[in-house]
């Protein structure tokens, strides 16, 4: 296999794994922003929390990996409901600046809380034995965990898309994103809907954070370090869109990985420039609706 | 002589939804023209298209013979096209006087002044007072807009638009939301507007329409159904059907 093709496959593979993590974390943010118009810069906190819950369960209590991941989803999802009821709810319909500042405050508090309980270093993440090592596919071998990540991510994404297309819950969300007033007038309880969607989005972020701990290390500054990339995925994908951020995440993940391989110096700058250009060309995002 | 305002083939769609369908419209100088139609017919959309708040999907708009289709909103205002809003959009925390001064200042081109303190231009204030006096609002000039009754606020909305010295004035439901005790003064005021201003009024109140308008255009589902004098419109069976949902008795 030639070096170029091999490099291409590596980039595609690792880029795809990275994209999966970015998407899982960011899709909830897209729904939140599309559904309630709420700019939640602290969304990454849920991802970090998922990672912390999972690693604590595995490292301190030796909980099996699948259980720990599921626990991360449930715990963070439930916790997010509390936060939504207590705090976020007060600022629906508030101006942009208020939302930005409140969520910045949340990020700051989360950094302190994580540092206090877990210390400043990244959490060690050791995949279980059956997911470690290399997977030999004949023409090449791939890291097993990342392969798992891609497959699991794809499964979750499929589940999510099917769920939103086929279930009543999904239909209600799509209706409310499309036109909240109209949805309310046909009897959809948008308040409850939103809490559920928020919980689902936060839970997914927790899954993304937990599963992706090997790619995006879990440390106290997680939410702030990766904020820009999460925002890019959502803004470029299109607010409220479920599919849009997936393609944005692919674009971002593969581009970032490609630059890391070939031109590590300029990756970030190129991505920012690309985002700038894309948003100027289509301010509503690739799949967003223009108003 | 040029029409004060014309549209040719004006269209606007949001995806599959067509809110304006090939609208041909003509407003004569000094006109007293009403635009009526059921809810959702696209009347306010039409005003938004004409003023430039909304970009058309197709068609042309001409103001006094000049094509303004590509012109931004503020430029159209400078050329003499003004509108009022269906719901008051005044600055409620400012006084009546300041609201009118803002408009006059923009028209005079002094609103962008960075160096002098606001309110120091005597000519702006004088003109504002004169305008308010004509509408009977001079006594309340220094009061905050939010302290006025809704009916008086609608009059201020009118004063602001008049401060722009328009040649074409689009009034979007000027009496909407005004209690009947106060609507009389609004109607009187509209009746006494200068004859050289071309007026287009969107209204639901038929009494008002028949009292003020010399020509009426009926808009249904984004398209012009019929246009004519008040008598013609009142007698037209299609109009009755649209409003009453039934065929006129044979």
């Amino acid at each position: 296999m030639s070096a170029a093709v091999s490099a291409f496959i590596s980039i595609a593979f690792h880029g795809l794994a990275y994209a999966m993590v970015l998407y899982l974390v960011s899709v909830g943010l897209s729904v939140t922003m599309g559904l309630m118009g709420f700019i939640n810069l602290a969304h990454g906190v849920f991802a970090a929390a998922g990672g912390y819950v999972m690693t604590r369960l595995i490292n301190a209590y030796h909980v099996p990996f699948p259980l720990a991941v599921a626990a991360a989803f449930v715990v963070v999802g439930a916790g997010s409901v509390v936060l939504e009821r207590l705090l976020y709810r007060r600022l629906y319909g508030a101006d942009e600046l208020s939302q930005v500042l409140m969520t910045v405050g949340l990020i700051l508090m989360s950094v302190a809380i994580f540092k206090f309980f877990w210390g400043p270093l990244a959490q060690p993440m050791q995949p279980p034995a059956y997911l470690s090592g290399q997977l030999d596919l004949g023409f090449r071998s791939f890291p097993t965990y990342r392969s798992f990540l891609i497959v699991a991510g794809a499964a979750l994404v499929t589940l999510l898309w099917l769920g939103l297309e086929r279930t009543r819950f999904g239909a209600r969300i799509r209706a409310a994103v499309d036109n909240r007033r109209m949805a309310q007038s046909v009897g959809i309880d948008t308040d409850r809907l939103f809490t559920l969607a928020f919980a689902l989005g936060s839970g997914l972020a927790a899954l993304g954070g937990a599963l992706g701990a090997e790619i995006l290390a879990i440390d106290p500054g997680y939410a702030q370090e990766h904020l820009i990339y999460f925002l890019i995925v959502v803004a470029v994908g299109g607010l409220g869109s479920i599919k849009g951020p997936f393609f944005a995440a692919l674009l971002l993940g593969i581009t970032d990985t490609a630059f890391k391989y070939k031109l590590p110096e300029f990756g970030a700058f190129f991505i920012y420039a690309m985002t700038l250009a894309l948003l100027l060309w289509r301010p509503q995002g690739l799949f967003g609706r223009s108003s | 002589m040029n029409a004060a305002l014309e549209t040719h083939g004006l269209c606007k769609s949001f995806g599959a939804l067509a809110v304006a369908n090939d609208i041909e419209f003509r407003l004569e100088p000094g006109a007293r023209h009403a635009l009526i139609g059921p809810n959702g017919a696209g009347k306010t959309t039409f005003v938004n298209l004409v003023t430039g708040a909304l970009a058309p999907s197709a068609g042309r708009i001409l103001l006094d013979g000049d094509d303004i289709t590509a012109l931004p909103q503020a430029q159209r205002v400078k050329r003499g096209l003004a509108r009022t809003f269906q719901i008051n959009t005044l600055f409620r925390g400012l006084s009546v006087l300041e609201n009118v001064c803002l408009a006059i200042g923009e028209r005079m081109g002094v609103a962008g002044d960075i160096y002098r303190p606001a309110g120091s231009r005597r000519d702006v204030v004088d003109e504002a007072y004169a305008a308010l006096e004509r509408l009977g609002l001079a006594a309340e000039a220094q009061r905050l807009v939010r302290e006025l009754s809704y009916g008086r606020q609608r009059l201020v909305e009118l004063a602001v638009a008049l401060g722009l010295k328009p040649k074409v004035l689009l009034l979007d439901e000027p009496a909407a939301g005004v209690p009947s005790s106060e609507s009389g003064i609004i109607v009187d005021t509209i009746e006494s507007l200068p004859a050289d201003i071309a007026l287009l009024i969107i209204e639901h109140d038929m009494d008002l329409v028949f009292r003020l308008a010399r020509r009426i255009t009926v808009l249904v589902q984004g398209a012009v159904l019929v246009e004519g004098t008040p008598q013609e419109i009142a007698a037209d069976p299609r109009v009755r059907e649209v409003y009453l949902g039934e065929r006129a008795p044979a």
């Binding site: 700019i39 600046l97 700051l108 302190a112 809380i113 | 708040a53 300041e98 962008g112």
Partner: protein, 332 residues
Amino acid sequence: MSDALAGRATQAVEALLRRHRLRPWEALPWLAGAAAFFAFPDYLALGSQILINILFALSLDLILGYAGIVTLGHAAFFGVGAYTAGLLAAHGWSEPLSGLVVAGLVAGLVGLVSGAIILRTRGLTLLMLTLMIAVMLQEAANKAGSVTGGADGLQGMDVAPVLDLFRFDLYGRVAYLYCLALLFLGWLAARRIVHSPFGRSLTGIRENEARMHAIGSPVFRRRLTIYAIAAALAGIAGALLAQTTQFVALEVLSFERSGAVLIMLILGGVGRLYGAFIGVPLYMILQDRFAQADPVYWDFWIGLLLIIVVVFARGGVLGLGERIAQRLSGRG
């Protein structure tokens, strides 16, 4: 016009003008600034930092509080000003005042160009674009290490005495007065702008853009103008930092700095001209006392304070003050 009407018009003009006249209490910040110079001779370095950040926050207030443009990248202009002044001083142009002017102009130009590109967008898109501009500049500064010093920072600056008379001394006395003087000039400019018809129209644009379009206001042009002016002022603040500390680090362009100045402003109160004068010293003095001791606690408490302010006291300290004053005067 009748005499009675003319009389009322005169009254109205006087009432309007009275709002713009200098009030006695507006001398307070400057008295406090001068008093601090004599009362805290050992803290003048911190004092200069505070003054610089007040100017920075004041420039942000112009676009955020008055024009309503929410930005996460205002540090871009601060950083551009800092690096411009730093590079000038490091390459032989050591006269500080002219360096300051050039830095302001360059930052203003960056503001003008970036604003022209991005100010047509709204909401999240605009927020993202302000952020993109800042991070792109930061990346560029990082990569152009040979010019900017990269992650190590820009050093080797030679700053000549101000007006050829006042040499920057080790105790920071000249630096402090230099910053105070420039802050005063910046404040004069900001105050003039805010009280002008232009400034009033910005408030109109912020509160009801549709209305402003409908009265023929050139909305885009006005927003772009204030954006460029604010960028220039921010650039001057950055240049002050470079000249007084003779060092420029990459963080002058960072998201952290953009975020910090946002927090400082909200604490004091947005859109009231003096929010910066209250929020900045409050934040920086608290930070100086507590952040050194335990950074973890600092993040936690400032985060909590921010949330509390946003939810309960959106207008910051000045907003609270206004509410109290209203209650006291019985207008509630």
